[in-house]
Symmetry: none
Subunit: 194 residues, 4 copies
DNA sequence: CATGAATGAGAGTTCATTCAT
DNA sequence: GATGAATGAACTCTCATTCAT
């Protein structure tokens, strides 16, 4: 596959993302993507075999980007609280972006392929999130920024809240205010009592 | 509709519940239900027009039952902490029950019919949950059982965590230990500092 | 499936037979049969899943009919030569009927599903033919009608010749005269030398 | 067409032969051949327009080779029986060679293009075979090697048996023993009675 | 000459939905 | 009420064939 087709592949992925963002996963057919891309039926099959494959590829791209964004913004002199704030801000952005969000598609995908595999992507991302937060909280405790008796529980708690808000945003809608309140609540929970 | 048809309607709903519990929502076709019920294709249409309608009906039944269960177990002399514990226990049971759970089907349904309608069922249930918890926490504060500076935030927090665990249970799997740890963490967060 | 659908099933088989007779096996699609039957796409699938299944069913019907025809015409007082003549006459009829013959379709089918399974239908029919002929020839020898030093070889020989003529008829065409000459040749080979 | 393209054409034919030998005719697509040859789709079309054309070309090559082989091995002093034996041995070899045999593909081809054209290749080859055998038998009779009252019938008989065994080999499988028995039976039928 | 991306026709298959009985 | 045969739309996937490079 030459240079040209790499671009087309990217074009298809970009277009498919919009389709998934709009319709979720199960409602999307290869035909939908073909039409959105305005290419031929067979043309799509040159690049992808199924909506599964397309969505998975999008997820992998997304995961990489997320990692880059997060690690890219941390500088040496940031405090634990700074980083946590940054992390939560990033999550907030993701939560509120309705347009172009794969959230629903991803949930649907993992519903359809219901496997509680230890290495499934959502599982890995969740566990990674917990680990990062735990480290962060411990660092904050060490530096006197945070107070917390159960860093691991707190980390898991934050991840569950974020997950809960994510799904709530998609099924019920969520306002910036609601998110801010929760994030504030979380930060308060870690704050050193005066 | 005669007595007989009421029974048949119930039979269909019961059978359909098993199908939805097993396959989620989008993967279930009218044909699936016809086959599971072992009735005729046309027969099903006499009672229901679509899988949508069937699932919605199941949800309404479920909502009623849940209310009954919850309110039915509260007695006058229970303390706020008792009631909260009871509530969380109930949630835990729901979280861990894999078999026969409509959770995934419900999520899928509301993904497919994505409307952030203020009166959508999940929204109403969530809001009701927050209200109940808020009252409970406030009662607990009043009685000296709890300490909390932001009862509403805490209530929302608990609901988000429950929601997060619910979805995590379905996509990644969750163990009783993980649930217990979180519930303990939540209770600790409300505990009066000694 | 009620009385009505049995008739329709038969109608489809009858129609499909004509299609197979005309086009062979691999050239026939479910669509071809749908169109020949003038029924709906889905309608055909109510009765048959594939062209394979339809052809096989036709073959089984054919096999039964053949057996009936053959055994039905033998009376007690027939001599071995009479029966052999009858058998060859039957074969001749089959050979010459171009219209409505499944021969090519059957060959194609067994080419496509090339398995030299001992229990494949052509194999069983061939072996059965050899056995019958062998018995017949031995009976003829016993009654003084035939002379033959290797009844089994002769039986196999006849079957191969018939097979050869069958395929020759389909690929090259064959005239009644050619068939008659061969059958005469065969009978002569068994005739008692005067 | 330059030297180079002649070689490539040959390469394609050689490769296609293997594909046809393995899959028959109708199951082979231009794509199959492209992939087997590991050339580009367009590349194949520079040399051949269809699988039909490729198979036909292979057949013509084969026909030439066969002629060469047969006529090449006959020497002046061979007796009729020697030549017949040689001929049958050659046929036997062809019958038993499963690998690399175009037999099925050829049958399929002529089934698909069913024309009982007098000049079709199988027809011509069959007729030529009959003629050669007839001559041979007559020569054998003249030399006192054979006894036969109907040389033409015998010749046709042999060709039909060979054809029958060929197809039987492909659809049902055939063992060397079975072939030998038939060939022995044929030779015996021509033997001078002592 | 050679490539391989692109097209679009067409086959297979499934189901929601209707309707005569 | 109940049945289940029938329909047709929609989707998946594969290839023969073309054509710009």
């Amino acid at each position: 596959m030459g240079e040209k087709s790499v671009q087309k592949r990217k074009y298809i992925l970009d277009t498919a993302r919009k389709v998934f963002a709009e319709k979720g996963f199960k409602n999307v057919t290869m035909k939908d993507i073909v039409e959105a891309c305005d290419i031929s039926r067979g043309g799509l099959y040159l690049y992808f075999d199924s909506t599964d494959q397309i969505l998975l590829e999008l997820l992998h791209m997304e995961a990489e980007e997320t990692d880059d964004v997060f690690t890219g913004h941390i500088s040496e002199e940031d405090t634990a609280a700074d980083i946590l704030t940054l992390f939560l801000k990033e999550q907030k952005k993701e939560l509120l972006q309705k347009q172009d969000s794969l959230t629903v598609a991803v949930y649907e995908y993992f519903f359809v392929h219901r496997s509680t595999d230890k290495n499934s992507m959502p599982r890995k991302q969740f566990d990674a999130g917990v680990r990062v937060l735990e480290k962060l909280i411990e660092a904050g405790i060490a530096s006197g920024e945070f107070y917390c008796e159960d860093p691991k529980g707190a980390a898991a708690n934050i991840m569950y809240v974020l997950e809960g808000m994510k799904i709530h945003a998609q099924t019920c809608g969520i306002t910036e205010k609601m998110v801010d309140e929760q994030l504030y609540y979380i930060m308060q929970g870690l704050a050193v009592d005066v």
